[in-house]
Amino acid sequence: MEREFYLGAITEDTMTRRNYSLLGPDGARAVETGLAAAEWYHTEVPRKVMKDLMKRSDAPAIRDTIILYGCMILFAGLGIALWPSWWSAPFWLAYGVLYGSAMDSRWHECGHGTAFKTPWMNTVVYEIASLMMMRNSATWRWSHARHHTDTYIVGRDPEIAVMRPPVLFKLIGNFFGIFDAWAALSRMAYNAFLGVHPEEKTFVPQSEWPKVVKVARIYVLIYAATITLAIWMHSILPLMVIGLPRLYGAWHHVMTGLLQHGGLADNVTDHRLNSRTVYMNPISRFIYWNMNYHVEHHMFPMVPYHALPRLHETIRHDLPAPNRSIGAGFAEMWPALIRQLRYEDFFIKRELPATAKPYREEFHAEAPVGGTVAA
């Protein structure tokens, strides 16, 4: 398959230096030029079809939640029973991936309020998942709203996983949650003792600031109690259940999360240019709650996870071909990240099928000329 790349005449001199600070000049420029809070491209879908796709239901999420928490209790129970033998290791690995990765997607879907039809069910799972992922449940609701308003707009989107040039040791370290968890714990302490961070003030409304502090203090108490218990027991076992799985089970959500936007365009207003849909095996799809249909999710965030495969079938004529597997996604993305180490402006531009409307590129007029590379 032909994959088109923008590389052309980029030199060190012409290359853009991105400033990702939410308080920096790139964000201010995006607001000035209308790139921030812009109207995004979306595929035309008849209203009746879209209404059907948006329909909410409790049943799929209740089923998945029972399976998820049931498995977590089972695996943690077996891990504790076999502790400290190495025979407990496989159960911790399984528990860890459900804690440190599946909770990321539960946080995400329930944050949108689309997983369950019943609001309190979304809220309960959202709060549990936020605690496990060490994400302040008050702050991150707003950060994710901004991610949807300004997806991969530099200086506006607080959830850019791969900045340019990529810092590879950080990306790799985050497969074990190292830098992420450290940043999360530091921010938790900041929020609990000093208040809302100035960057957070750019996207969290003032009325919510007391809630941010309250949530951070509750998290600090829970983690402090777990650490105290571990010290009292002279064992890391309590931390194997709460806290550490955010590290040893993070790899799956980082693996799938990098694929969402990694190596693709930034500062555009067409999700087909900056998001990636990847076909995945059923276990990964369960852990990831179908967020592998990522272009579809960004274009239509109202569609619940269980309807995303149907949405994909409905609009695939207008989207670039999905990557066939996680491996294929990495094979496309990783070389682009390596190129971005030297050429920050480099990105992958996938070919659209003949049935698709052209990309919306008005904000991309200054991109260097394109070339094509076989992928």
Binding site: A37, M50, G113
Partner: protein, 104 residues
Amino acid sequence: MTQWIDACATDEIDEEDLIRFDHGAQTFAIYHSPEGDFYATAGLCSHENVHLCDGLVMGHLIECPKHNGQFDYRTGEAKRAPVCVNLRTFPVKVEGGRVFIEVA
């Protein structure tokens, strides 16, 4: 000065759904509730300027298509983050199979 504007026919909006209605420089959302009543609110979400007409009506709630914020369209009350500011509502009357809204 207020005036009643003929917005649409009653059968143009499915039950538990909404349509967009533009009048001059203003844009409105007109709703058909599950009980068969009609309501009107401002057409743009109070969070960011997104048309509510692409959203989802569930009972008496309208969910915004952009960030899933929710309003009670009967009162305009903001019900779910990220919306915090209530929606403006407009009086509605139905006459001869037509929906009228009162605008300033």
